[in-house]
Structures are given as structure tokens and as C-alpha cells.
């Protein structure tokens, strides 16, 4: 729950941000953790949840997505991947030990270049959304994005909105999440974006 996952779509991109702290109880084990996995050239998945499950599930999905790309010499679209992930998570839900993983899946369609973002929780509820968050970040960031997000925003504006969200989280979350890793998905692929995590935000 204290892990932060954020996603924003715009005119021709999808931004995914994840907190850098790897936590175990009250202890921070690592301050530069990357909670994202690239599924193919233009689809990225961010994950949070129970310690072992997250990476295990994400890399299982990553391996299957890559296997599909190698066998068929085509990548699955973000929508197809989202439904594949949902299917795997849904069948796990009614197994003896379900995966406890929340996901954001962002991508840009390889053919139409349409950006998309999918919100998935550990129950395998799937929703296509223009912007999304997981955990406590939902309560702080969704209202901000309700007010400031437009469907046709540029990447620069998207980064501004992420800064807005990060500031609010620094101001109101009682724990230090060690800043955000930000990645942008565009038609040219996925790249990590520079993000100022050292900015000090004063409380109110």
C-alpha cells in the first residue's frame, strides 16, 4: 500500500512512474528499486504488492510476452497483453495461493500509435483509464489528475503533472518512498525520463 504507482496517458505517450523504495515492514532495503518490467518494444508494466509475488509474476508475464514476440515476429498490442495478464491473474485468484499483485500496464499501439493505460488490481479487475494510481497514492493523486489532466496533453505537460503528484505525495504521505522512477512509452519505444527527486516540499 505505501508503494506508489502512477500512470498518465497523453496525446502520443504513456507515462509510468513507480516509487524507488523496496520496503520490508518498517525497513527500507533498497532506495533505487525498479518496480517496472518491459513486456515488448512499446508496452511497460509497473507492479506493487506482496514481496515475492510481484517480481515473480511480472517476470512470468514478461517472459510470455517476449516468447510470443519471438514465435510470431509480431508484438502483442497493449490491449491484448492487458487481457492476457488479467486472464493469468484471474485464474491465479481462484488457486490455492493467489498472486497478490497490483499492476499498471501502459503502452502505445504499434500500428495506430494510440496510447493506452490499464489498471489491474490483485482481484484481476481490469479497467482502461486515462490516468491511474495504486495504493495510498490513489487517494492523493486521482483528485489532482481529475482536475488537471486533459486527454491531449504533451509529454512535457505529463511530466509536470507527475511533479505535481510527487509534490503532493511528499507533502502528505507519512513515509519516505525515496522518489520516483519515471518511464515514457512512445511510438519510438520506452525510455527512462530524468526526474528531480531531490526537490524539497514543505508541509502545509
Amino acid at each position: 500500500m505505501p508503494e506508489v504507482l502512477l500512470g498518465i496517458t497523453g496525446k502520443d505517450f504513456t507515462l509510468i512512474a513507480a516509487s524507488k523504495a523496496a520496503m520490508r515492514g518498517a525497513t527500507i532495503l533498497k532506495a533505487a528499486d525498479d518496480k517496472t518490467r518491459q513486456l515488448n518494444k512499446h508496452t511497460l508494466m509497473a507492479f506493487s504488492g506482496e514481496a515475492g509475488d510481484t517480481v515473480q509474476f511480472a517476470e512470468y508475464i514478461q517472459a510470455n510476452a517476449q516468447l510470443y514476440s519471438m514465435r510470431n515476429e509480431t508484438d502483442l498490442s497493449p490491449s491484448a497483453l492487458a487481457h492476457f495478464v488479467r486472464g493469468e491473474l484471474a485464474s491465479s485468484l481462484r488457486s490455492r495461493k493467489p498472486y497478490n499483485v497490483n499492476l499498471l500496464l501502459g503502452g502505445v499501439d504499434p500500428i495506430t500509435h494510440q496510447p493506452s493505460l490499464y489498471w489491474l488490481d490483485y482481484l484481476a479487475s481490469l479497467a482502461p483509464v486515462p490516468y491511474a494510481a495504486h495504493g495510498y497514492a490513489q487517494y492523493y493523486c486521482l483528485s489532482l489528475l481529475d482536475k488537471h489532466h486533459q486527454p491531449d496533453i504533451t509529454l512535457e505537460r505529463g511530466m509536470e503533472l507527475l511533479t505535481l503528484c510527487a509534490d503532493e505525495l511528499k507533502r502528505r504521505l507519512p513515509i519516505d518512498f525515496k522518489g520516483l522512477i519515471v518511464k515514457a512509452v512512445t511510438k519510438d519505444g520506452i525510455k527512462e525520463m530524468p526526474f528531480d527527486n531531490d526537490k524539497v516540499v514543505k508541509g502545509t
Binding site: 485468484l93 479487475s125 481490469l126
Partner: protein
């Protein structure tokens, strides 16, 4: 509060008219009080004039709607014809009862017109497949109490397609406005002999 039927919220209603039926749902997907999405339709089409509304746990809404898409496609390939609403209702019932001791947390509603006679058909189910055949209307979801009230007062026999649209829309919109867990827009389908009209209602966005 942690009943699987009311975690995500949502409402659905079906009504009989004169030579037509209507089915409508809201668009909210939430986690308790937090709204996550306002674009989560709960009515699905299976063939020319067979419709299924699903409320309850969102993951099961998706799972069950996907499952029936598969089953109906297989039926169509085997039988080389579309499935009839009454047949589909029995398929829903038996598929749900298969999971008798570990049910899908959904309350389905079926609406359609008989392909031979053109007679309106609606029915509802509980989560383990007990069918509720009704001659007037069927409601399901977190706004059932409100929907029953609205339908009891607005519905009358022999409504034409346009009157039926007005009736079902007012019933749904006013019911979900009194339920914190549903609303945020609606989809309304009016099904006539050889015409299906889908309308998107904006509704209150608060």
C-alpha cells in the same frame, strides 16, 4: 461491507415493452468508496438480440462475460445459428451452478427477443444460477432497492420502444443517484424486432 457483491459497485436493469425489451447498466468501477473508472460497462451482447447484464465483483464480471463469449461462439459454430435468449438463460444457469460451492460473485440479467416469435424475454439469476423469470422487469446490483422502487412506480405494461427508453433511463438514473456505489453514466440498449439502439447517458458525475 466486505461483501464481494458490493466492493466494486454497479447497477443493472432490464424491462419488457410492447414487442421490445430494454436493458441498461451504469458505468462505475470502484474500490469501496473510491471511484477508479467511469468507463466500465456491465451489459454485453451475444448475438443479434441476446444481451447479458452482469453486476457484482468486477473481476467476475469480466471473467463471466469472457466465458460466455467463448461458450456462445462455440454454440454458434456447432449449431450454425445464433443462440436464443431462453437457451442462453439456461446456459447461464447451468454454468453458474457448476460453481455451486465456489461461485462467481455476479448477479446476471438476460434480455432479448425470441428469434422465432419475436416475443420479449427477460430473466434474472442469483450467483449460483437460480432463474427468476419475470414478466415486467429485473433489477440487479448495489442499487437494487432503489431500482425496485423506481421500476414499481414507473413501469407499465405495453410500452413502445421510445416510451420504454424513457422509462428505463429514468428508473436507472434516479436509482443510481441514491446509491453511492453506482452511477457515473449509463448504457441503455433498446432491442426491437430487427433493430438494436444503444444510447450512452452521461448522468450525474458526482
Amino acid at each position: 461491507m466486505p461483501s464481494p457483491f458490493s466492493i466494486n459497485g454497479g447497477a443493472c436493469v432490464a424491462m419488457v415493452g410492447k414487442d421490445c425489451v430494454a436493458i441498461a447498466c451504469d458505468l462505475r468501477l470502484g474500490l469501496q468508496a473510491l471511484t477508479v473508472s467511469n468507463n466500465f460497462p456491465k451489459v454485453f451482447q451475444y448475438g443479434d438480440n441476446v444481451f447479458l447484464g452482469l453486476t457484482g465483483l468486477a473481476t467476475d464480471v469480466s471473467t463471466v462475460s469472457d466465458l460466455f463469449r467463448y461458450k456462445v461462439n462455440m454454440y454458434r459454430l456447432r449449431e450454425e445459428r445464433h443462440i436464443a435468449p431462453r437457451t442462453f438463460a439456461n446456459l447461464v444457469s447451468s454454468s453458474l451452478y457448476e460453481r455451486r460451492f465456489g461461485p462467481y460473485f455476479v448477479s446476471p440479467v438476460v434480455a432479448g427477443l425470441d428469434p422465432k416469435t419475436g416475443a420479449p424475454f427477460i430473466c434474472g439469476f442469483d450467483s449460483i444460477g437460480c432463474i427468476d423469470f419475470a414478466q415486467d422487469f429485473i433489477v440487479s446490483g448495489t442499487a437494487t432497492d432503489q431500482l425496485f422502487g423506481m421500476c414499481e412506480s414507473l413501469w407499465e405494461p405495453g410500452l413502445g420502444p421510445d416510451e420504454l427508453f424513457e422509462t428505463i433511463s429514468q428508473a436507472l438514473l434516479n436509482a443510481v443517484d441514491r446509491d453511492a456505489l453506482s452511477g457515473w453514466g449509463a448504457h441503455v440498449y433498446i432491442i426491437e424486432k430487427d433493430k438494436v439502439t444503444k444510447r450512452l447517458l452521461k448522468g450525474r458525475q458526482d
